[in-house]
Symmetry: C2
Amino acid sequence: MGNQNSKQKILLKGAELVHLKGYNNTGLKEILDYAGVPKGSFYFYFKSKEEFGLELLEFHFSFFRKLIVHYFNNTEIDPVNRIKLFFKDFKSLMLSQQCKLGCPIGNIIQEMSSINDNFREKLTSFYKELIGTLNNSLKEAQDNGEISDNLDTYKISEFIINSWQGSIMEMKLLRDIKPLELFEQIVLNNILQLN
Amino acid sequence: MGNQNSKQKILLKGAELVHLKGYNNTGLKEILDYAGVPKGSFYFYFKSKEEFGLELLEFHFSFFRKLIVHYFNNTEIDPVNRIKLFFKDFKSLMLSQQCKLGCPIGNIIQEMSSINDNFREKLTSFYKELIGTLNNSLKEAQDNGEISDNLDTYKISEFIINSWQGSIMEMKLLRDIKPLELFEQIVLNNILQLN
């Protein structure tokens, strides 16, 4: 007890349970059992369940930030293809979870925004970061002449992220990847107006 | 105790609490206290919390079905204006809740789809009903020449409902109506290709 390894285990196994069952619906005892960490040790690592939840968010953000670097900072491929590849590979990730779990961040936004402002602030700033990342690639695509000059890239980015989240929600409801295929199709054919 | 009035109170007040706090995060005692119904009477009306939850879904569906009849079966205005009016008035409803609560059905889809198949089945069939309703109006709009013949109206309807749900989620996150205004703008200007 008392090492960083146990704390990481609590976060990792906690993330898994919360992804499936929701934050409020996952008990501390359950997380500790699943992580194989002694009962009673939780408060050694986290002051409260809320502190655990907020660290869980950082855990997810850092996973997404790695994806962002991998896909969106890859200047070897053109910006529209970066975007396509990101959404395609995220779709594969969802498929590997049998389309059952959805986006861990979207789930927590839906669950916590109305009841906890500490969660809401952290989630808001990350959501804007995600929109900003997409916007940077779309601006580059506009400069390259890949997409129409008429598009307001920030608004389009915001709408794309929102419709992506809504499509992930339908995916989870139907337990079927089709809503994410439809999302890609409409974004590419109807929204981005590829030149 | 034992009258339909008490059962309705439990559903009505329960709906309010679940809308704010989530289904799993709302306790039975809390609902009964809020509804002013005697403790212990819950199991007189519902076999289990799950049965309450499933009746709560029907309660929301019937609210939405009334909206659907009011907006989508109104043949006095043309189909694109019916759609516009529905989304506009729903936006006002969200504003009246300070953009805090989101869509009661979207919230429960997000919370319950991964963990309860009885919820998931009911929610799936209602979600398809909603897409079907929008599709009927879009087909009519296509027949009238209001929107382009090139659109696959069912796919567009499905995507619109998904992006609407995602936009409601961002609204809730930001506690700001702008995501729903953006939704209307992109659907009308970029997706529906109004003639």
